[in-house]
């Protein structure tokens, strides 16, 4: 359910959708003649239309990838910061050589447009679940930047919404095959033998933020930027896109991000789990570093694989001493070997292909959720500083009431998924 205190009334929704439905019927007025039938470009009726939810730095970057596809047409952009909205609109209009791109502050105004098929979600992480679930409810297919979620239960709600409405929903972890594809394929073909250990080198968890602040500049709708997150005073270092855990951007802070654990975890844990065919399940034990037996945060899987969060060792390093596992050669299931990007143009092309064919994408939300869960489990173990048991089927910590509390965060105001 959306924030009802600011909800779009049925009347307004009908008015909006009615207006756009009318526009859609008169296709040439919606898509200008300059692009109608352009060489190598499908007719407007055959293009996938898209709205962009969160058009800051990353949003614009991913949007450019979609803009370069002749079978995609970006119709609308949304951001709570005017500068981002203006930049994105200018970019889209420049690409299509018209002024047709509509810009919005409230993403829900994009969702009620019936002429928009898909949405790209590139907001900070604390908005992903709300936007994705609402998009599914409104019949949109979703390409959501990684990491998928801010909490474990949010991720499950996103998968449930995708399934409930038969929506094609992809997470944007392009490096799983893009950067790590070679090693993933070698592991999947059994060239390394039975994997015993994997070292994943990424940064650590986020921190709580008590930065001081004051009034937000007029171009920022600060309350809307916070959305479901706890109220806090405006500070540019809370909301900046500055990368890393240095305290200069939103990825540093617990209320808006899972830190580098989730941000890079989406790529590197994603690659490790994909390679081993473990991205439809989860670990059963998580042990934080204890200075003795466990140098690194350790995930232990039912099949005996040890996955380490090793912030200063390796990259995505698989350990499989073949000589020790003679006779235990890995026989990858066929479906694992068949999983690859579909269509052309990497993970974005894969998403568009899935929208057209209604076949689930390579980074379907279920896989992305399982990967994000591994990242969240790591953050919870770092927070509680003790070993945890995890049930990957029920997605709960058996008999551990304190850890179970951390699977979820109450959302502010009337925001909910």
């Amino acid at each position: 359910m959306s924030n009802q205190s600011k909800k779009i009334t049925r009347r307004k929704a009908l008015k909006l959708s009615g207006a756009t439905a009318g526009a859609a019927l008169a296709a040439p007025s919606l898509v200008p003649a300059s692009v109608f039938g352009a060489p190598g470009r499908p007719a407007p009726s055959e293009r996938i239309t898209m709205g962009v939810l969160g058009s800051g730095g990353r949003g614009k970057g991913v949007m450019r990838g979609f803009l370069n596809r002749p079978d995609v047409h970006v119709l609308a952009v949304c951001d709570v910061q005017k500068r981002n909205r203006d930049d994105a609109k200018r970019h889209v209009d420049g690409k299509y050589k018209n002024q047709d791109c509509k810009d919005y502050i409230d993403f829900r105004e994009i969702l009620v447009r019936k002429d928009i098929d898909t949405v790209l979600i590139a907001s900070p992480d604390h908005w992903h679940a709300i936007m994705a679930v609402e998009a599914c409810k409104h019949g949109k297919d979703v390409y959501c930047e990684k990491p998928l979620s801010l909490t474990i239960q949010e991720g499950r709600a996103m998968v449930d919404a995708a399934r409930r409405y038969n929506r094609m929903c992809s997470s944007g972890s392009q490096r799983v095959l893009g950067d790590y594809g070679k090693i993933c394929r070698r592991v999947q073909k059994g060239e390394l033998g039975q994997i015993q250990e994997v070292f994943v080198n990424i940064g650590g968890p986020p921190r709580h933020c008590y930065l001081g602040g004051g009034e937000a500049p007029a171009e920022v709708d600060w309350d809307r930027w916070l959305g479901p997150a706890p109220w806090a005073p405006y500070n540019p270092n809370r909301m900046s896109r500055a990368y890393g855990l240095g305290g200069k951007g939103w990825r540093t802070w617990h209320d808006y991000s899972g830190g580098m654990m989730t941000d890079w975890g989406g790529h590197k844990f994603g690659a490790a789990l994909f390679a081993m065919g473990l991205d439809e399940t989860g670990p059963t034990t998580i042990v934080p570093p204890d200075g003795k037996d466990h140098k690194y945060l350790t995930y232990i899987y039912e099949n005996g694989v040890h996955l380490y969060h090793s912030p200063n060792k390796g990259n995505v390093d698989f350990v499989a001493p073949k000589e020790k596992v003679a006779g235990l050669t890995w026989e990858p299931p066929k479906h694992l070997l068949e999983r690859d990007y579909k269509g052309s143009g990497g993970i974005q092309g894969d998403f568009i292909e899935s929208v057209k064919t209604r076949q689930r994408p390579f980074r379907d939300f279920e896989f992305a959720h399982r990967v994000a869960t591994v990242c969240h489990l790591g953050n919870i173990a770092y927070t509680l500083k003790r070993p945890l048991k995890w049930d990957p089927i029920k997605e709960e910590f058996p008999g551990d009431e304190q850890a179970n509390r951390l699977r979820w965060r109450p959302m502010r105001g009337s925001w909910s998924v």
Binding site: T9, Y210, P230, W231, A232, R405, P410
Partner: protein, 250 residues
């Protein structure tokens, strides 16, 4: 040896309790201050392994909530209580629920407790608080998966029909998380749900999933057919239709 510095040995040896010092710092803490002085509390919360230790810490966090501490300090206390707190903290947290400003901090802890006394506090606030916080309280009750929360929501759905239609509708839709499709269907039939067909359809679809998980296929199908034949979005109708088809195949 002569003590030229004239330092009294007892003064040197006097130990300051680091936890007490950190709580004293927390009571004066505000946005923008160095968190170093309260960092000891982060560690104490994580180390509090047994109930006794947790209750001792919780009592002190409640003192912060009951006093004149800043918003930032109370926010911090609520976050820590969400990890170590329990029923003994409900009274202090409940006082924060009626205010739009402090409601979320209290919910942050109470929703995670999910206990009977937490539900009662949320239910009481739902009755007494103003419109500004009702929807958030409904959401907290929705997220606590228990029959007791269900009863509070069912009561709110009925009692707010005339005075706060939005809260009544939200409570009705929240019931979809529980095994009660009938009240949803009735609400639709009675035209109580009029503003938001997308959220209503979503609630019914979710409810059908709950019913199916409980083995109540007949009841689930009834709800799915209602969506299929009703005035809902094509997206919702298709979702209901494909689910009905899948059930038929099964």
């Amino acid at each position: 040896m002569v003590n030229n510095l004239n330092i009294q040995p007892s003064a040197v040896e006097e130990k300051v309790d680091p936890i007490a010092a950190a709580f004293a710092a927390l009571k004066k803490f505000d946005w923008g201050q160095d968190t170093g002085a309260i960092k000891t509390l982060d560690e104490a919360v994580v180390k509090a392994a047994d109930d006794k230790a947790k209750k001792a810490l919780s009592a002190q966090f409640c003192q912060v909530l009951d006093g004149e501490a800043s918003y930032a300090a109370k926010d911090y206390a609520c976050r820590q209580l969400s990890l170590v707190g329990g029923d003994e903290c409900v009274k202090s947290l409940a006082k924060l629920l009626p205010s739009e400003k402090t409601c979320h901090g209290a919910r942050y802890a109470l929703e995670r407790f999910g206990s009977s006394s937490a539900i009662q506090a949320l239910g009481k606030a739902l009755k007494e608080a103003g419109k500004g916080v009702r929807l958030s309280l409904v959401n907290s009750l929705k997220n606590i998966d228990s029959n007791e929360a269900h009863k509070v929501l069912a009561h709110a759905a009925v009692s707010f029909v005339d005075s706060d239609a939005e809260a009544s509708e939200a409570a009705t839709l929240a019931l979809c998380h529980f095994e009660d499709g009938q009240s949803l269907a009735q609400a639709y039939i009675d035209k109580k749900i009029s503003e938001d067909p997308i959220n209503f359809a979503d609630a019914v679809l979710r409810n059908s999933e709950v019913l199916l998980a409980k083995g109540k296929e007949k009841e689930a199908k009834k709800l799915l057919r209602m969506i299929k034949k009703g005035e809902f979005s094509e997206n919702a109708k298709q979702a209901a239709t494909s689910k009905l088809k899948a059930l038929k195949k099964k």
